[in-house]
């Protein structure tokens, strides 16, 4: 763990958001809303919660992170670069020919990635496989498997196969975050394919369920501590987030799901992030 305070984590999440805007604008394609919404969660995982070593990505007793909604990988790349897994300049290679930063994460390209994802619905089951190994085969009970999955992704059948599996085997070292931002490509999740009552769904599959504000870092840390204390059940933390969080013109707008900002929009977004929406003066103002 890096030992950052909550206010330091908030600042770090702001830097991660700026990285996301800059890299997406540079790449000219990619997803904006989801990564911005996840910035607080992913930053907290990489800088406070997970036992990882950027200098030794295959460290034997490390915690495992798997991103199931691979299209949100810019936030993971940004957090990894900020944490020191690779130089920040490399973020500008996102989606370019020859880059280790593929449009969707590929484990074999970049040390520190634990899975390959993009096609939706397969992250929880891979995390469950790993957690099964820790719990039943390796008897390694001080390691944790964290999976982030989208909410639109919960339409996939594979998700519920995994939910049943993890429930059956009481995979208590598996902690899943559902990024509950209520949007998917074609519109609001509840219009496309309703997910509610999501809490009750997970509970009925034998999971311990918590719901938190995904932009409150204290809540994220508390929920993980609670999840780690729960025995005999896998944990899901329904993490309520605002798509495009902290960039005013992107917030809540599903049209920002799959597009990057252009140069003007990126400038506006970065200004907003630097000034914390006018609360402080930007460094370059």
């Amino acid at each position: 763990m890096s030992g950052l305070t909550v206010s330091q984590l908030e600042k770090k999440a702001n830097e991660v958001r700026r990285d996301i805007i800059t890299m997406l604008e540079h790449a000219g394609s990619g997803h904006s809303a989801g990564p911005l919404g996840l910035a607080d969660l992913i930053t907290t995982l990489y800088f406070s919660i997970m036992n990882i070593d950027p200098k030794n990505p295959e460290m034997e007793d490390r915690d495992i992170f798997m991103l199931s909604n691979g299209h949100c990988v810019p936030v993971q790349y940004a957090a990894m670069a900020e944490r020191g897994f690779f130089p920040k300049e490399e973020l500008m290679t996102l989606r370019r020919l020859g880059s280790r930063l593929q449009g969707h994460p590929e484990r074999t390209k970049l040390p520190g990635l634990e899975n390959t994802s993009g096609p939706l619905g397969c992250g929880i089951s891979q995390g469950a496989g790993y957690a099964y190994s820790l719990q039943y085969l390796d008897h390694s009970h001080r390691r944790w498997v964290y999976v982030v999955t989208g909410d639109g992704e919960l339409d996939e059948g594979n998700i519920w196969e995994a939910a049943m599996f993890a429930g059956k085997y009481k995979l208590s070292q598996l902690i899943v975050f559902v990024d509950r931002n209520n949007i998917q490509i074609d519109g609001p999740t509840e219009a496309i394919m309703p997910l509610e009552d999501l809490h009750a769904k997970w509970q009925s599959f034998g999971w311990h369920v918590q719901e938190i504000d995904g932009h409150n870092i204290d809540s994220i840390i508390d929920a993980v501590n609670m999840a780690k204390a729960i025995e005999n059940r896998p944990s899901v933390i329904i993490t309520h987030t605002i798509p495009g969080k902290h960039v005013d013109f992107m917030e809540y707008d599903y049209k920002w799901h799959g597009v990057p900002p252009n140069a003007d929009q990126a400038r506006e977004a970065l200004h907003e992030l630097r000034t914390m929406r006018g609360k402080v003066r930007g460094e370059h103002e």
Partner: protein, 332 residues
Amino acid sequence: MVAYQLNEKIFSDTPDVEPTRAGFGRGLKLAGESNPNIVGLCADLTESVQMHLFANALPDRFIQVGIAEQNLVTVGAGLARAGKIPFIASYAAFSPGRNWEQIKTTTALNQMPVKIIGAHSGVTVGPDGATHQMLEDIALMRVMPNMVVICPGDSVEAEKATQAIVGVDSACYLRLAREKTPIFSTVDSPFEVGRAYVLHEGKDVTIVSTGILTPYALRAVTILKKAGIDAEVIHCPTIKPLDKATILKSLKKTGRIVTCEDAQAAGGLGGAVAELLGDEFPAPLLRIGMPDRYGESGAPLELIAHFGFDDKGIAEKTKNFVNARPQYKPGF
């Protein structure tokens, strides 16, 4: 070259018979007993795919995932990331039939050494009919980078192949069948991943066969001899990577080639050989397999004969082919 050691009874009226899945069951148990990293996963078909031998001997390393093939492979991928060697078993119709994209993303592209066991492939699943007769799996798996594809010819070879793929550092597909089929190999016969074997030498035509049709291809030699045709038979259990050298060497002698598989004639072994011929040696080719149609209900061996996959069918088609197509001479 040392001659391939055949089970002599293969040419008799009463050859030894056993399903290839039985060899897999024995092989997995043996492999599991010697390698603690092997885990077995099954989707509610444990005895049917013969994984019960492993499960009973090593219950702590057996994982029941229920009827959920997408979960079967992705949980397997997670276990592989944790350092295990997962063998995931179901019927070929469902795995890889239903979970192909998960196999691609989480095991092949992701380079995880998950061993995918597709049992009950081909028409010999019999009365269950077309829905359960998986004929497209060889083609589906062969086009996937980082995937090894193996279709053992009999139960003795299936036992060896199961143990051999433990040491292959990539995802593998092992194709098995339900019905008892003739055993042509012996415990002393060679098996290496990526190798094809000349079972019988001849000069007029090469018959390359994979899986459970190989014993029928071998027995077709006798019928063809009566028609004055001297056929060479190659058994090709590994479809990917294809043993191009062995096939081309034979072909340069015979100038004509027939492929045999209990699968779609398009895209499988026939497809692989057609690609090889197109690339390197454009000799006449006859592909024996399912001709762009589905199977249907019937008794297993009745279906083998119905679709012309038995010794008589292979001999008849080969004879017509040899009579119609002259041997290819390079540089002509």
